[in-house]
Symmetry: C2
Subunit: 310 residues, 2 copies
């Protein structure tokens, strides 16, 4: 693996690979790698000739009161994990390399970004879509890999790529949970042992809701209350939102039909965590996608295999 910090250098290397007929895969990350990131690298390794992982804690997607300074950083550990996953290039630009002059240009996706996480993080998604456009332009991948943990981000990026005809396929990869069910997140590093136990209520709320849908419940308003009530049952956890939305355009739905996203966000102590499940309903048939479980040192079990999923 080689580590590259300069935009022009990684661009030249990727241009040369494409000129040789090699396919390029991009995994955009903010580092502090966990099993979720590793699963993205593995998917890219499986599909592409040249695997580029970008590691950039993008300041423009953090709000003024958010955790940009505190965001977990582990350069040594990240490099070791990327090497272990067979990554070819770790692209680690500085802020100055990515933003050499004040940015005048933004890429914005209307509608999908004003709800869920966008309601409490109003500038977040414009930061994400703009930096992802930059990374896609620099690396020029035929495929870019994103985790379903950030389900809204994935929907927003898919829409952006379609609207702008960007020449990359966006590959969504399963959310990864630890053995307790907690969704993997770099921000889990902020949690005390007690908070970590409390944080499980997010996953449990989703498991319970999926179970209810599996048993026939189709009223989205009831499912939403059920999610919120489950999270409120833990007094140390403060709900940000619990929503049931269309899986593609993220519009709030009244009935559970077709593909819907159950999405929750909550503060556990001072740490904001998110979690979600995708449910596909066709008549009596229910398919719930709650992610995969990764046990340290072993690859994630296949998608959809989480115990307790209907």
């Amino acid at each position: 693996m080689i580590t590259i910090a300069e935009v022009d250098d990684v661009r030249s290397l990727c241009d040369a690979a494409r000129a040789d007929g090699r396919s390029v895969g991009l995994v955009p990350t903010m580092g502090a790698f966990h099993a979720g990131h590793c699963s993205l690298m593995r998917a890219a390794r499986r599909d592409c000739d040249l695997v580029v992982v970008s590691l950039f804690v993008n300041p423009t997607q953090f709000g003024p009161s958010e955790d940009l300074q505190a965001y977990p950083r582990d350069a040594g550990g990240d490099a070791a994990r990327a090497i272990a996953e067979g990554v070819d290039v770790l692209f680690t630009p500085s802020s100055v390399a990515m933003y050499p002059e004040p940015m005048r240009t933004t890429v914005q996706v209307a509608g999908l970004t004003d709800r869920l996480c966008g309601a409490s993080r109003p500038t977040h998604f414009a930061g994400v879509t703009t930096v992802v456009t930059k990374l896609l332009s620099i690396v020029g991948p035929c495929r870019a890999y994103f985790g379903r943990k950030d389900a809204q981000q994935l929907a927003v990026i898919r829409r952006m790529v379609r609207d702008l005809n960007l020449p990359a396929e966006i590959v969504g990869c399963p959310l990864v949970r630890d053995a307790s069910g907690l969704a993997m997140s770099s921000r889990n590093a902020y949690l005390t042992a007690e908070e970590r136990a409390d944080a499980l209520v997010l996953a449990w709320s989703l498991f319970g809701a999926c179970e209810a849908i599996g048993e026939g419940e189709r009223d989205a308003v009831l499912i939403r209350s059920r999610l919120a009530d489950a999270i409120a049952s833990r007094p140390t956890v403060r709900l940000d939102y619990a929503e049931v939305v269309d899986g593609e355009n993220l519009d709030v739905v009244d009935r559970i039909e077709g593909e819907v996203l159950l999405a929750v966000a909550a503060f556990v102590g001072r740490t904001r965590l998110i979690d979600n499940a995708t449910v596909r309903v066709d008549g009596d048939h229910v398919e719930a996608e709650l992610g995969v479980v990764s046990v340290a040192g072993r690859p994630p079990t296949p998608r959809g295999a989480f115990a307790g999923c209907p």
Copy 2:
């Protein structure tokens, strides 16, 4: 030359050309070709292996009261001119092909777009930057060609490409004038013979201002008044703006130093026309770029060769 209407077809053809190591050049246009468009095609033909000209009257860059419906269209004449210039591909998408679903995504450039034409056409540049991003993504050119007649558009697109790291070189080509000095524009087709004569005041105002700068005037406020007064001298012409701005960031300047853009816009009858000149001042040395003159059937004379230019 082949004409292609579908996004996927032109993308495949350009992908194949690049895979063969051929360079691709893009000339984005709205059709109704005149000598200015032809000069862009000729520049692309000189530089690139595969020349793609897009012809799309983009609805999103017209305001609600503007001339989208009336905009000149000449499919047969345009194809003949493109063939004569050695163009390989004429890409003529429909609105449905470019916008198959309601757009949620926009690319916006702040600052540079709120002045000059942006002041009277507030949604224009977001339409331009978004459609140009789409065309660059579809065609994947190494170079894209734009005329300096639309000086603000060129500055905005250069900034967008830099900010988003888009993998294309933006080539600005000289403004082209007819033998009378009138800047070539598809909208000149709207003018009566009398209006056409009146419209010359735009060019004359610029020639006079350049002459004054050549003679030592450095006060941008005076030059601005001089431009406005010259245009106001023709009662049939209604001034929109006359500005003296920095050539790159389009900020208003007080002194004529370095590279400045003299830009004017006015309504001649119901037709809105624009014109500009770029002046580079280094001490006593003045270089004015007023464009090139094209006489029907002959290629434009070399850049900077306009008679009367200091």
